[in-house]
């Protein structure tokens, strides 16, 4: 069983020697991505490598913390070299396992291809200085592993999930770019010594914050513990008790922080067992944190410009790790890392062009746009179809995709003409002053459409210069230049991409017919046409078709035919224009019909409204009638009730029972000779 480790390291002179001395007993190879360390870390790595070839390091010359990408690159090489398991560690982490045999047994019996390694945050009893830390001392810890974990995974996992991603900080592993992280299963714990001296922790936090901020794909919440660590040290000072509290629950400290003394709390202790050398070899002059920061800035850093959120991938190239924009397929899986040169002996269509190919080209022109996105390019779709049909390209690259009208057309031509064409759309999807600046909604829309319609075709999010590194020379058959339209930009694009064109290369330039604002394509087109065979169409803002390939290739034939027969060229242009004209007319007719239909519908709606109003009136009348009827019924009910009440009183037995009193009173009245009273008779 081969076990490798991958570590991204930068200026960790106080711990790197101990890290190597301790962890080398577990690993078959320890891979490092070094971010141009200048405090002696590099010398230590170098010296260890001379003695022990299990240590291997690569330079990471970017001034930003691309940890996920760097570890990805190291993982790739680790599995290439036959690793069975890869541990993603930091320089302050030490495996807790009795020995190598035990580690192997644990891995073998683990029952999962992904292992999460919980932190045991160690609290030093004596803190070191900026450059020196005593690893052999006694450490305290809380007795509770941290909620944070690191990750290790097997070759099996990498093989079955080729698009896996180790997330920033190596805390999680995702099977795909947009998938949820793998479920946690705890395995071998890690001793973690993040706090070694006050100066070191503040340097590290400030450094990490700076480097993370420089990343194009930096997301909110990443490395927030660095910020809180800085604040804590600023607010509470760098007392041992404060550092203890920082170390105790590193990354999850509560607010406010309570300084603590682990010895008084009777916390358990650990001591790292390993052959640590006592005296460090005098490698370099010891730098203070201020000096170190100064040296850092003076280093020769490589620039890496990417639009925010673009997918990036790290690759080992010689001794360095190179960051490159990642080609993505429509279904969000990774495309190939690089695009290699195309075969020179390829012959597209048998010569000479015969009637059949012309008929096919004519058929290709009839194919409409595949999606309901419309732009200035819609008029050029037939031209593109004819071109593809005749040239039979193998790789089509588009600079400046925007909403993807022309790109989707190319994909659909490839599919309908059965060309097996590889289409690659390149854009930053940030917009430009000519096309208008746009939001990420345009990209999202494009991405969704691509995943639905052409999941196999690729796009690359990035700036053209950065992306051009992915293409080897002579690797593109058709390049469509539709980026920023100023003269300088177009000339730059042309010069940058000219060597990438194959021996059958054709470049398309859009907007050669636009003379407004600072559009400069027309000027460039006028200049360049002197040098290369070409043709163009004027409609749809103009499309220039420039042949930059080998003059003896079969593709050159088309341009020769056109050059020799100006009438034919004019005819074909006229045909295309007529076609577009016809299309426009149809569109107009369609629009007129649509308008008419809308009018009818509107009239219809008006009638409908009237009917509805009448109906409403009727309903209201009925409602009023019903209301009256209800009231009448109510009144009748009332009358009935009063009548009943009257009869119930009249029929009441009391009348009969009190009759004796009435009669008696009348007798008394008669005796007293008063007028006799009469009561109503019982009904």
């Amino acid at each position: 069983m081969k076990i490798f480790s991958a570590t991204m390291i930068r200026n960790e002179i106080d711990i790197v020697e101990s890290f190597l001395a301790y962890n080398l007993k577990y690993f078959d190879k320890m891979l490092f991505a070094d971010m141009q360390s200048s405090d002696g870390t590099l010398e230590v790595l170098n010296k260890t490598r001379e003695k022990d070839d299990r240590v291997q390091y690569y330079n990471l010359p970017y001034l930003a913390k691309y940890q996920s990408e760097a570890v990805g690159a190291l993982a790739e090489i680790a599995f290439c070299e036959g690793a069975d398991w890869l541990f993603c560690l930091d320089a302050d982490e030490f495996l807790k396992s009795p020995d190598r045999g035990h580690l192997e047994r644990t891995l073998r019996n683990f029952g999962s291809e992904v292992m999460h390694l919980p932190w045991i945050n160690l609290i030093p009893t004596t803190y070191g200085s900026f450059n020196n830390f005593d690893i052999t001392q006694k450490f305290h810890w809380t007795g509770r592993v941290s909620q944070y974990v690191k990750v290790a995974f097997s070759a099996q996992y990498a093989m079955s999930n080729p698009d896996y991603i180790v997330t920033m900080g190596c805390h999680d592993l995702k099977p795909t770019l947009s998938g949820p992280p793998e479920g946690q299963k705890l395995g071998v714990p890690l001793f973690h010594i993040p706090v070694r001296s006050a100066e070191r922790i503040s340097y590290k936090a400030a450094n990490a914050l700076d480097l993370q901020g420089r990343k194009h794909n930096h997301c909110e919440g990443e490395g927030k513990h660095h910020k809180s660590n800085l604040y804590v040290i600023q607010d509470l000072g760098c007392d041992a008790a404060v550092l203890n509290a920082l170390a105790a629950d590193y990354g999850a400290t509560t607010d406010p922080l309570r300084p603590l003394d682990p010895a008084a709390l009777n916390w358990p202790t650990f001591q790292l067992e390993g052959h640590f050398s006592n005296s460090r070899s005098p490698i370099t002059r010891e730098l203070s944190s201020v000096e170190l920061r100064q040296t850092d800035l003076n280093k020769d850093w490589m620039r890496f410009d990417m639009p925010p959120g673009a997918v990036v991938r790290g690759r080992i190239a010689g001794n360095t790790i190179e960051l490159l924009p990642a080609p993505m397929r429509g279904d969000r899986t990774r495309g190939p890392a690089k695009f290699s040169s195309l075969d020179k002996s390829y012959v597209g269509r048998p010569r000479p062009l015969d009637a059949a190919s012309i008929v096919e080209a004519l058929v290709a022109m009839e194919m409409g746009p595949p999606v309901d996105v419309f732009s200035a390019w819609t008029d050029l779709v037939p031209t593109q179809g004819a071109l593809f049909s005749i040239l039979m390209p193998r790789r089509y690259v588009e600079l400046g995709v925007h909403n993807g009208m022309s790109f989707f057309a190319a994909c659909s031509h490839s599919e309908r003409l059965n060309l097996g064409l590889e289409c690659i759309g390149i854009d930053s999807w940030e917009g430009d002053p000519h096309a208008g600046m746009h939001s990420s909604a345009v990209f999202d829309d494009f991405q969704t459409k691509l995943s639905r319609l052409f999941p196999g075709q690729m796009y690359i999010q990035g700036y053209f210069d950065e992306v051009s590194k992915l293409f080897q020379d002579s690797s593109i058959d058709i390049l469509h230049v539709d980026g920023f339209h100023s003269y300088d930009a177009v000339r730059h694009d042309f010069e940058m991409w000219r060597p990438k064109m194959s021996n059958r290369g054709v470049m398309l330039f859009h907007d050669i017919n636009v003379h407004e604002r600072d559009f400069g394509v027309w000027r460039f087109w006028e200049e360049i046409t002197d040098e290369f065979p070409h043709t163009s169409v004027a409609h749809g803002h103009g499309l220039g078709i420039l042949y930059v390939g080998d003059p003896n290739s079969d593709a050159a034939e088309l341009f020769q035919i056109l050059r020799k027969n100006p009438i034919l060229e004019r005819l074909s242009k006229r045909y295309l224009e007529a076609k577009i004209h016809q299309q426009h007319q149809q569109n107009r007719k369609f629009a007129a019909l649509k308008k008419e239909r809308d009018e009818v519908i509107a009239a219809n709606n008006k009638e409908k409204d009237k009917v509805i109003a009448a109906n409403k009136e009727r309903d209201r009348a009925i409602a009023a009638k019903n209301e009256m009827a209800r009231r009448l019924a109510h009144a009748e009910q009332k009358i009935l009730e009063s009548t009943n009440a009257f009869y119930s009183i009249a029929n009441d037995k009391w009348w009969t029972r009190t009759q004796i009193f009435r009669k008696t009173s009348n007798i008394v009245r008669k005796i007293k000779k008063r007028p006799v009273k009469t009561w109503p008779k019982r009904v």
């Binding site: 807790k96 809380t142 007795g143 592993v145 909620q147 714990p189 358990p268």
Partner: protein
């Protein structure tokens, strides 16, 4: 380092504590141990006075906290007392029986990574290792004394150690090395007790330690008397803290309940009790379910209603106190039934009450035929055994038949 320090934190309820201590001192064990009783400032009386009779025993020491500091700190004080021994936390409302300590030590030493060991206990004594039912709830009074049950456990399940995700502190033997590594119980988060031992177990598990239940020990835990009325409130206060510290608690508990790793152990104990019930009887009758529940001695009840093939299960008037006995589907489980009967010491299965059972059996006679060795239809009895192992033990002998016919 096989010596053990038994730590008994005491707070009030001195009679129970006394019962516990005397059971510890009187149980037959081979291991050496010391007992440390720590009185957490009881208000009922003076522990030292009540325990005067035990003071002469040099294995016992009785300490007293000056003020009431809560269970966790008291326990920690005990854990720190004898650093060369494996500590055993014992609640004062428990009763232990012979051999208990020996088996628990066997479990502790069965693997290097064992952190803690729990015994089996009565219903509601623990949510992990309770018997006879896994569920918390109504207590079924068993028709057998706990002492007897402990004996059965020792005989039947001495070699069974079941790994569990966490243990309970009523009687927990702890590996001293694990304490060196992860420290003592957490009195900051769980000052009063309740949850601190689970927290300890969870912490240890995340470092790779394992927890076992020793099947061969039965300890009575008169649960609920440990904390009295405080219990409900303590539990309510503890749960959110515990869930914050261990977000995986809900899933772990749910997985434990569904997987139920102790099921086999419980079944083994049920079998042990069944053996006791069997006495010297070597034959078991098959009767219809309706008749089965009247009988005091074990019978095999045939329940034809459950599915078309019928189900056999052990039954008797005591059935509801044996919740873990398996049932045997016909005819697939006949082999298992034969094995279990052999384990229990039965040699014959007799079908009597010819009318009812026989008519039921007849329905699937074709399934049975291969399994039936002898069949006498006048009296309607036959035996079950594995046709493959048609050895002399199972073959019918004449004398025996005569007995049955009478």
């Amino acid at each position: 380092m096989a010596s053990i320090s038994i730590i008994i934190p005491i707070f009030n309820q001195l009679e129970l504590a006394k019962q516990c201590l005397s059971s510890v001192l009187n149980a037959k064990v081979e291991s050496r141990f010391k007992v440390i009783c720590i009185d957490d400032a009881s208000t009922d009386g003076i522990v030292a006075d009540a325990f005067r009779e035990y003071l002469s025993d040099d294995r016992v020491s009785i300490w007293r906290n000056n003020s009431n500091v809560g269970f966790t700190q008291t326990a920690n004080r005990g854990l720190q007392a004898l650093p060369d021994t494996h500590p055993l936390l014992l609640n004062s409302d428990t009763v232990v029986y012979d051999h208990w300590l020996d088996v628990m030590i066997e479990a502790l030493e069965s693997d290097v990574q064992v952190c803690s060991v729990n015994p089996v206990t009565n219903q509601n004594g623990s949510h992990i290792s309770c018997y006879p039912r896994a569920k918390w709830g109504e207590v079924h009074r068993l028709p057998i004394s706990d002492r007897k049950l402990a004996e059965i456990a020792f005989e039947e399940a001495r070699s069974i150690f079941v790994p569990v995700h966490t243990n309970v502190g009523f009687c927990m033997l702890i590996n001293r090395r694990s304490i060196h590594e992860i420290g003592f119980l957490d009195c900051e988060h769980f000052p009063r007790g309740y949850g601190e031992e689970s927290d300890f177990c969870y912490r240890a598990r995340k470092l790779g330690w394992r927890h076992l239940v020793a099947g061969g020990v039965f300890v009575t835990h008169l649960h609920g008397k440990s904390f009295g009325d405080e219990k409900a409130t303590l539990r309510e206060q503890m749960l959110p803290i515990f869930r914050r510290l261990h977000p995986d608690q809900t899933t772990m508990d749910a997985a434990f309940r569904t997987r139920d790793p102790l099921n086999e152990l419980r079944q083994r104990l049920d079998f042990g009790r069944l053996k006791q019930l069997r006495g010297n009887n070597r034959m078991i009758r098959v009767v219809p379910l309706s008749a089965a529940l009247l009988d005091a001695e074990p019978v095999l009840a045939l329940d034809p209603t459950e599915n078309t093939d019928g189900v056999l299960r052990f039954a008797g008037s005591w059935s509801d106190t044996f919740p873990n006995l398996p049932s045997y589907r016909l005819p697939n489980d006949l082999e298992r039934l034969a094995l279990d009967l052999e384990y229990l010491g039965y040699q014959r299965v007799i079908f009597d009450e010819a009318g009812a059972v026989f008519n039921e059996i007849k329905k699937y006679n074709q399934h049975w035929r291969s399994e039936i060795v002898s069949f006498a239809d006048c009296e309607a009895y036959f035996e079950i055994c594995r046709a493959a192992e048609n050895n002399s033990r199972y073959s019918p002998d004449k004398e025996f038949d005569d007995q049955v016919v009478q």
